[in-house]
């Protein structure tokens, strides 16, 4: 940073950006890059590749549920020639375990924190790179050992087959199941590597957001995207060590016989009956202490991104900027004390369940506030139905379903019935596919011009949305009914049980929807790769948006900004009278006051008045 501009609030970046040199050759530019934008693109392509893998695993699971024990078309005979193309029960458990693992650890978490966190944090706060560019590079490269571990675990008999929750004793003792051998150890190692990657990322994000904001960029002028990513980074940094510790304990249980999670006196094939003294519940506490907040790690960044994109697409300031931040913080802090709601049936003291239940009920409140605020943002806006808008609305409508079905889960007596049935599967797919992935699709379309300097194709984008939305609802909505009828999760053949026999047609319908949804993703990939090279060129600010990244060239050069930006006001100043424009960039100082008729008397939260936080 050569020129330090006077800041209107007196705020200066505390930490000078590291003076790293412009990249020289191909390797330093595209492979071992320390530039946050290139790392974001690396994360994007890696996670999209993993999305294909995770999706394929899901389709295989759905195939088994629709056509149990029938030879899988095309890949079946090639994969399992011994079983005449059939999916064996061992393989089935591996399929859903790895579907969850890949989707959670290699798709959703890294696409949000890795891709959007990397791309947007420096650009939106006006920094020229992350605080620790080399650590940033390392956080990307730590994804690969994880991918290799997960990939290698396929090679061992059965693959990891204890579910993504890896509950002991099934996951703790190599003899417990065909998939609990070396594959499970490799799985744990993979999760640990992903954990390292996330940890490096979150340290970097926190440091960058706290220390490298442009002059004038107070905390309450940060775009909500940055707030989402910031709170996520904090969650990540405090929750992840617990999972890592638990993971180490499980690895030593498996390899050294420490028995943290293994009680005495069990009779499992050829296991030593004299060892023991542990408690499987301990793992559940450690695991959910991370994995419940992880749900918000997978959601909060999207909540932030949606707020900014929706506001831009309906040309209105976000409704209730500060309540949005407070509700995100409330979700995050409550998120730390509700892990026990995954354990209502676990045998944990039932009286403790009540405290968890009240906290869980309360977490629905900030989520409701956010939903109402988004709807109010649309109210009175000017809506143009482009791909970004459609995906935002898709997010909103699916998030409502996922949020409301969460209330059933919070009510313990009802949860006891729904626990481990397809109702739960419906709930978290509405949240994690319905909400998160639609947010990600919106984000890809919205920030693509900034990443590659070209626009994506609208027709392809809309078709992709249409098919995905239809497919997603067709696949996930009937899951509520499966849950109502008491179909447990993770059953290779539910029709073996009399009361579930009649569910086959419903499962077949869902599988067809899933195939439709899966094939729709081909359009997304075509769109991305075609538009990267042949899309119409985008200017600096194709969406007429207000935040700092749109003041930089598309794509931004090394070091991002032509000159360091200065920020004068909050992030979502739309619907203003600024010459012939209806928006005010965060770097623009002057603007006619809005007509009195346009403002509401209650609203005097002028962000210009905010003092530095």
């Amino acid at each position: 940073m050569s020129v330090v501009h006077p800041s209107p609030t007196g705020l200066q970046p505390i930490l000078k950006p590291q003076a790293h040199h412009a990249p020289g050759n191909f390797f330093t530019k595209y492979i071992f890059s320390t530039d946050h934008k290139i790392i974001a693109i690396q994360f994007l392509f890696t996670t999209l590749l993993m999305l294909i893998v995770g999706g394929a695993l899901a389709l295989a699971v759905r195939w088994q549920l629709a056509f149990p024990w029938e030879s899988m078309p095309i890949v079946g005979p090639w994969l399992f020639s011994a079983e005449a193309g059939q999916i064996s029960p061992e393989f089935y458990t591996m399929l859903f375990t790895m579907h969850a693992t890949v989707m959670i650890f290699l798709v959703i978490i890294p696409i949000l924190a890795g891709t959007f966190g990397n791309l947007l944090i420096p650009l939106m706060i006006g920094a020229d790179d992350m605080a620790f560019p080399k650590l940033n590079m390392l956080s990307y490269w730590f994804i690969w050992p994880a991918i290799i571990c997960f990939g290698m675990s396929f090679a061992y008999a059965g693959g990891p087959a204890a579910g993504w929750t890896a509950y002991p004793v099934l996951a703790d003792l190599p003899q417990a199941a065909p998939g609990s051998g070396t594959a499970q150890t490799l799985w744990l190692l993979g999760v640990t590597f992903v954990g390292f990657s996330s940890m490096m990322g979150s340290i970097n994000y926190m440091t960058t957001i706290i220390n490298m904001r442009a002059p004038g960029m107070t905390f309450f002028r940060l775009p909500l995207t940055i707030w989402g990513l910031f709170i996520t980074a904090i969650l990540q940094a405090f929750a992840l060590p617990v999972l890592t510790a638990g993971g180490f304990m499980q690895v030593t249980d498996r390899l050294l016989g420490t028995c943290f999670f293994y009680p005495s006196g069990l009779i499992i094939n050829n296991a030593d009956p004299t060892i023991g003294g542990g408690q499987p519940l301990l793992w559940q506490h450690l695991f959910w202490f991370y994995s419940h907040p992880a749900v918000y790690i997978m959601l909060l960044p999207v909540m932030g991104m949606i707020s900014d994109m929706l506001s831009c697409m309906v040309r209105k300031p976000i409704f209730g900027y500060r309540p949005m931040i407070f509700s995100m913080s409330a979700i995050a802090s409550l998120g730390f004390i509700v892990w026990g709601h995954h354990m209502f049936t676990s045998g944990m003291n039932p009286a403790v369940g009540m405290a968890f239940m009240v906290a869980t009920m309360m977490i629905a409140l900030p989520s409701a506030v956010k939903t109402f605020n988004w709807t109010a943002t649309v109210w009175g806006g000017k809506v143009e139905f482009n791909t970004v808008t459609l995906n935002c609305i898709g997010f909103l409508s699916m998030f409502v379903v996922g949020g409301l079905s969460g209330i059933f889960m919070a009510a313990i007596p009802v949860d006891v019935y729904f626990h481990d049935t397809y109702f739960i599967v419906a709930h978290f797919h509405y949240v994690l596919f319905g909400a998160t992935l639609f947010g990600v699709f919106a984000g890809i379309h919205f920030w693509f011009p900034k990443m590659f300097g070209r626009m994506m194709n609208e027709k392809l984008g809309k078709t992709h949305f249409l098919l995905t939305f239809i497919g997603a609802n067709g696949t996930f909505f009937p899951m509520h009914f499966l849950g109502m009828q008491g179909m447990p999760r993770r059953y290779a053949d539910p029709y073996l049980h009399g009361y579930l026999e009649h569910l086959l047609p419903m499962n077949q319908f869902m599988t067809i929807s899933a195939i439709l949804m899966g094939s729709a993703q081909i359009l997304l990939f075509i769109n991305i790769f075609y538009s990267m090279f042949f899309g119409p060129k985008a200017g600096r600010n194709p969406w007429n948006a207000t935040t700092l990244e749109w003041t930089a060239p598309s794509p931004p050069p090394h070091g991002n900004f032509d000159e360091p930006p200065i920020v004068f006001h909050g992030p979502n100043e739309y619907a203003v009278h600024n010459g012939d424009k209806d928006f005010l960039l965060q770097t623009e100082k002057e603007c006619e006051p809005p007509k009195p008729s346009d403002t509401e008397p209650e609203n005097n939260t002028d962000n210009d008045q905010e003092t530095s936080s």
Binding site: P178, G179, G498, T599
Partner: protein
């Protein structure tokens, strides 16, 4: 085209509401053709479920209607600019307090039900005093150990205990309690018809009580992933009158302690040959 998209977004909530409304008619609701829960506690759980369903349905229809209406208006907005507003404090207070009150009500409302369901202090005394069986889950079957007729269940197996596999008989119309344990990995004792579910945790013995209110044969399944054969942990709970139940125990005793010489009625009960001796 904007209006078309509004209709598209209107279609889904409508489809959701319609399919939920017709679910009980086409058998998509609770198991066994939407039958009422086969336990009194289950009926109360269903009641709580329908209460929450009502609340969430109102919220769902409300929010979706407002969203689609806002989109509809927004897509026909020909003004130069959208409305400039940063929020409305009063409105936000209203929509924080109302859901807050409803959620708190729901939280407090169910406390009694939960206490009756799970907290041992509130269990029916008769059931706690005389657990009818010990249920042991193992890969991939259910084992049941009853005390000998007229005796009480002891924590350790006794020489005159009765055993059966994958078939649990209980009398209806009175609260019964079982002791749940696992022999190997974690399992979960799930009786969909009675709305009962409890994980069987290795190393722990967990009491579970229920009161079946009508006769019948109900599926008992495992709800916690327990290995590759998880899906085939298939058992039945047979709810019968007290007299039938005592008869069953008598037959079981005869079968199990038949010395191979005496004339014992075990031959007439071939259908129950599943009961194994241990």
């Amino acid at each position: 085209m904007g209006k078309g998209w509004c209709l598209f977004f209107l279609f889904w909530p409508v489809a959701a509401v319609v399919s939920c409304a017709m679910a009980p008619m086409v058998g998509w609701s609770f198991p066994y053709d939407n039958a009422q829960a086969a336990s009194n506690l289950g009926i109360r759980i269903d009641g709580l479920f329908y209460l929450i369903l009502f609340v969430t349905a109102v919220v769902f229809v409300g929010t979706q209607a407002v969203l689609v209406y806002a989109l509809w208006r927004g897509s026909s907005n020909r003004d130069e600019r959208a409305t400039y507003t940063h929020g409305n404090h009063k409105l936000e207070l209203i929509w924080s307090i109302i859901p807050g009150v409803i959620l708190l009500f729901l939280a407090l409302y169910q406390m009694n039900l939960w206490a009756d369901f799970r907290i041992k202090k509130y269990f029916p005394e008769a059931a706690v005093k005389a657990p009818i069986a010990e249920v042991t889950a193992r890969q991939f079957e259910w084992r049941f150990r009853y005390p000998a007729i007229g005796k009480e269940l002891q924590p350790k197996p006794q020489s005159d205990d009765l055993y059966s596999v994958n078939e649990l008989h209980v009398p209806f119309g009175k609260p019964v309690m079982i002791q749940l344990r696992s022999e190997d990995v974690q399992h979960s004792f799930f009786l969909p018809a009675l709305r009962i579910k409890q994980d069987a945790l290795p190393g722990l013995q967990i009491p579970v009580w229920f009161e079946a209110n009508k006769e019948g044969v109900y599926d008992l399944v495992c709800a916690e992933l327990c290995g590759w054969g998880h899906y085939k942990m298939k058992a039945h709970v047979i709810v019968e009158s007290e007299a039938d139940y005592q008869n069953y125990l008598k037959n079981l005793t005869q079968q199990q302690f038949y010395d191979g010489l005496g004339k014992i009625a075990a031959n007439e009960n071939d259908s129950e040959s599943e009961a194994t001796e241990k």
